[in-house]
């Protein structure tokens, strides 16, 4: 009876496929190979695309998330020891300049260094937003004001350097407020997420095989040397000839740019976002102008210097003007501190905020 029903069913047009001879094994194998190939390619890109925005965000912006991890740990220490929790945002000058582990005592505030390379008002705002999203509420926030990084006519200004590869979908509000062309940024972010293996290959290789990349393409140098407080070690000592070379380089770069300073409005917006949020959350906020060597200070024209000071004071928060705190020997290149320079500066900085 069963056999008869099967025989009848097989006569139906829709089920004629049953009667087709089975394809040779090699064809089945080839079909599976093709499906396996495209399926895997799609799956790898999809998993990477989703993963880098969710559970593996470190792959997308390791520099920030390594700092964040350390900031959370430092905050927990502060809470556990009933000390003040301070987070300092800024550029490489902060990253190399704030070295709490070398000088802090049990009674000092616990500082977390959130200095990101190339960061001005815009990226500081991004880092601050993300830190708030993580749930961390420090007692005090210090942000950096450094004119060259916020000078819109300077080629190293962050407005030209903000990399869409490091941005996350959760940064949408920041992108809309601060990126020069938000729609273009969103388009680029979508493009990057279509083929993350290709578009993010330098970031991924920086995690997997950094030594295979040319030094200037490596991202891991921004986070692997960090200490537990987020300090990025600068040079140990700098001899006079190397310092002279570095100063000559900085003169070539900074003198013309500081002679025609024009504040990037987005940087001001970024700093104001941090200030307003801190005020709303009851977090103390200060602005710091990091130490500069005497040569660099001489590059500012009087008008530019006055304009910068006016702008910094216009932010309406207490200002730490540390420009002249250190001698020239504390600098590697007139604006990045040496390791001993960082220790000396951090001690003075701790004393200052303790007041």
């Amino acid at each position: 009876m069963t056999l008869t029903i099967t025989a009848v069913l097989k006569q139906l047009p829709l089920l004629r496929r049953w009667r087709r001879p089975a394809p040779p094994r090699r064809v089945v194998r080839a079909k599976r190979m093709v499906i396996g190939f495209f399926g895997t390619l799609l799956a790898i890109n999809l998993v990477m695309s989703i993963g880098m925005d969710t559970w593996a965000r470190r792959l997308r912006d390791a520099e920030y998330f390594e700092h964040e991890r350390r900031a959370i740990a430092r905050h927990a220490i502060a809470r556990g020891s009933q000390r003040e929790s301070v987070v300092v945002f800024g550029s490489s000058r902060i990253a190399m300049g704030i070295r709490p582990l070398a000088v802090e005592t049990d009674s000092d505030p616990v500082i977390a260094n959130m200095g990101l390379i190339g960061s001005g008002g815009m990226l500081q705002s991004l880092a601050f937003d993300r830190l708030m999203q993580s749930g961390l509420r420090p007692d005090r926030v210090v942000i950096e004001f450094w004119p060259p990084m916020n000078n819109r006519v300077f080629r190293y200004s962050e407005i030209y350097r903000t990399d869409p590869h490091r941005l996350l979908p959760t940064d949408e509000a920041w992108i809309r407020d601060l990126m020069p062309n938000p729609e273009e940024t969103f388009r680029l972010m979508r493009e990057i997420r279509r083929t993350p293996i290709w578009c993010d290959r330098l970031r991924l290789m920086s995690h997997v095989l950094p030594s295979w990349l040319p030094f200037e393409k490596r991202f891991d140098v921004y986070w692997t040397p960090l200490d537990v407080a987020g300090w990025l070690p600068g040079q140990v000592v700098v001899d006079d000839s190397r310092r002279a070379e570095a100063i000559a380089g900085s003169e070539k770069e900074f003198r013309p740019n500081l002679a025609q300073f024009e504040m990037e409005p987005k940087a001001i917006v970024g700093m104001m976002r941090i200030i307003n949020r801190c005020r709303a959350e009851g977090i103390a906020i200060e602005v710091i102008w990091m130490p500069e060597g005497s040569h660099l200070r001489s590059f500012y024209t009087e008008a530019v210097r006055q304009e910068c000071e006016r702008l910094m004071h216009c932010l309406g928060v207490p200002v730490i003007d540390a420009r002249t705190w250190l001698p020239d020997t504390a600098f590697a290149d007139d604006f990045h501190l040496t390791q001993s320079g960082a220790s000396a500066f951090t001690r003075q900085f701790l004393d200052h905020i303790a007041k």
Binding site: R32, M33, V34, G36, F37, G39, R201, W212
Partner: protein, 510 residues
């Protein structure tokens, strides 16, 4: 890369490049490189429409492929796409005429016209600058005013792949003349033979007899072909991105300024360049073969692990096979081949390799490179005849140690030749001088050259495995899905390992 873009925008036929359609195409696919996203989109679109055309309309499929191939070339330079198409049509008509004629003298005349046209165009675009500049130099030295300025070779427009399709057209005309194959009756099929985009710009050099038979055959969708095509394409992509482009990072700075680097760095750069040129060209060939398979065409294999060759003669049976067989069939054998005296054979070898060298480019360096290989072939021939009288030495050379040694010597000899395989004579000689100036001071190779050594180890391991046939056996016994996953991972690794800048394929310029 930039120069190529400039070439494309300053096309010889501005009336063609001014059309909005070609400008859009150019923006989409500025260079005809297989590893770009523009090409991927182009290929998928062409493939989709190709297989949607019912198979009973094979002529429509062929016409579609011809149209797509012209667009592929026109995306880079519309004016030159028209030129290539026009010369192909003339080749078709001349071959038809030759086929109809019965008088030998007239057939010879038509053959001569066909070859003269193809070589004339090749000479105009590729060799004009070189010969005019050399003549200028000669006249200048003789104290005779040349009456014209030297040409800037870098600014001369050389159509992509001109040497490849010229040789294809010549071989077709000769085959029709010899009545080895009949002249193709349909223009669309002949156009496809020359213009088929996978082999148009950098080979393999296909033969009319092989390709036209395939163009006539009605093709069915075949999963096996798709599998083979994808495998070839993925392998080619890996060779190009993960090996060739990575090696370029090490070789290019040293070749550009050998005086600035140490002797060791120069030797390492030559090693890197040897790997680069092999993986670059064979990678391209693999991709071309793979793409052709997706359309149901089988192109000739162009490489067969040339660096595992135990002598130079074997190297040329494994390297750029489509060119070496072309030179054998259309130059070496007509010259008398190896049938004459020993002297005549050696002379023929030198002539063939000199032609092969000049085929690559109009520079003294390419001629020297060709002659170097000619000398190596002659030397090997003499050594082989000498060794027959020394059976003990021959037996030692046949052991595994002897084989490894022969492979190594062949590789070094070939690699030394690559130093000349660059269009700059002073830099090539400076490089050789630095290589043999033991202890020559200068910069060592970049600090990240660890990847160079790992790549070398990887290539040696793959060659060893392939020689032992181990991979083939393993590959055939693995389930299809596993092979698919492995190839997808290979593609992802190729993408990860690719350096930040894409280097153009070396052989596109030939």
């Amino acid at each position: 890369m930039d120069a190529m873009t400039v070439f494309a925008s300053t096309a010889a036929a501005p009336w063609a490049s001014d059309w909005a359609w070609f400008r859009t195409l150019h923006a989409w696919m500025p260079e005809p490189f297989f590893q770009t996203s523009g090409f991927l989109a182009f290929c998928v679109s062409v493939l989709g429409i190709y297989w949607l055309i019912p198979r009973r309309r094979n002529n429509l499929r062929v016409a579609w492929l011809v149209f797509a191939s012209v667009q592929f070339y026109a995306a880079w330079n519309a004016g030159l796409a028209f030129l290539v198409t026009a010369t192909t049509v003339i080749d078709f008509l001349l071959a038809r005429l030759m086929d109809r004629l019965t008088q030998r003298r007239l057939r010879q005349l038509v053959l001569f016209a066909s070859i003269a046209m193809n070589l004339g165009i090749l000479a105009y675009f590729k060799y004009r600058g070189f010969f005019l500049n050399e003549l200028h130099e000669l006249l200048h030295r003789a104290g005779v005013p040349p009456g014209y300025d030297k040409l800037d070779l870098a600014s001369l427009l050389v159509p992509f792949g001109i040497s490849f399709y010229t040789f294809e057209a010549i071989s077709y005309a000769v085959d029709v003349y010899r009545r080895t194959i009949p002249a193709e009756r349909r223009l669309d099929r002949f156009l496809l033979f020359i213009l088929f985009f996978p082999h148009l710009v950098a080979g393999p050099i296909v033969r009319g007899g092989d390709f036209l038979r395939q163009a006539r055959r009605v093709k069915r969708w075949n999963w096996l072909r798709v599998q083979i095509g994808l495998q070839y394409f993925a392998l080619g992509l890996f060779k190009k991105l993960a090996i060739a482009d990575r090696m370029a990072v090490f070789s290019d700075p040293v070749f550009a300024n050998p005086d600035g680097f140490s002797s060791n760095a120069c030797w390492l750069a030559v090693l890197a360049y040897s790997l680069r040129i092999y993986c670059d060209f064979s990678g391209y060939s693999d991709m071309a073969v793979g793409v052709a398979h997706l359309f149901g065409f089988k192109l000739a294999r162009n490489f067969d692990m040339p660096y595992s060759a135990v002598n130079v003669s074997e190297f040329w049976r494994r390297w750029h096979i489509s060119l070496s067989t072309w030179l054998r069939d259309y130059v070496f054998i007509p010259l008398g081949g190896s049938r004459g005296s020993e002297f005549a054979t050696c002379r023929n070898l030198l002539i063939v390799m000199a032609v092969g060298g000049l085929w690559h480019g109009a520079q003294w360096t390419y001629l020297v490179w060709g002659l170097w290989h000619g000398l190596l072939l002659v030397a090997h021939r003499q050594f082989r005849s000498m060794i027959t009288s020394l059976p003990v030495v021959d037996a030692i050379l046949q052991t595994w140690l002897g084989t490894v040694m022969r492979i190594l010597i062949t590789f070094i000899a070939v690699s030394l030749g690559w130093v000349m395989f660059r269009p700059d004579w002073p830099l090539a000689t400076a490089m050789l001088a630095k290589m043999f100036h033991i202890g020559g001071v200068g910069l060592p190779l970049m600090p990240h050259h660890r990847s160079l050594w790992w790549t070398v180890v990887f290539v040696i391991a793959v060659h060893a495995l392939m020689r032992l046939w181990a991979t083939r056996r393993t590959g055939e016994s693995l389930p299809g899905a596993v092979v698919g996953v492995a190839i997808a991972i290979l593609v992802c690794v190729a993408h990860l390992f690719a350096p930040i800048t894409n280097s153009p394929f070396i052989y596109f310029t030939f």
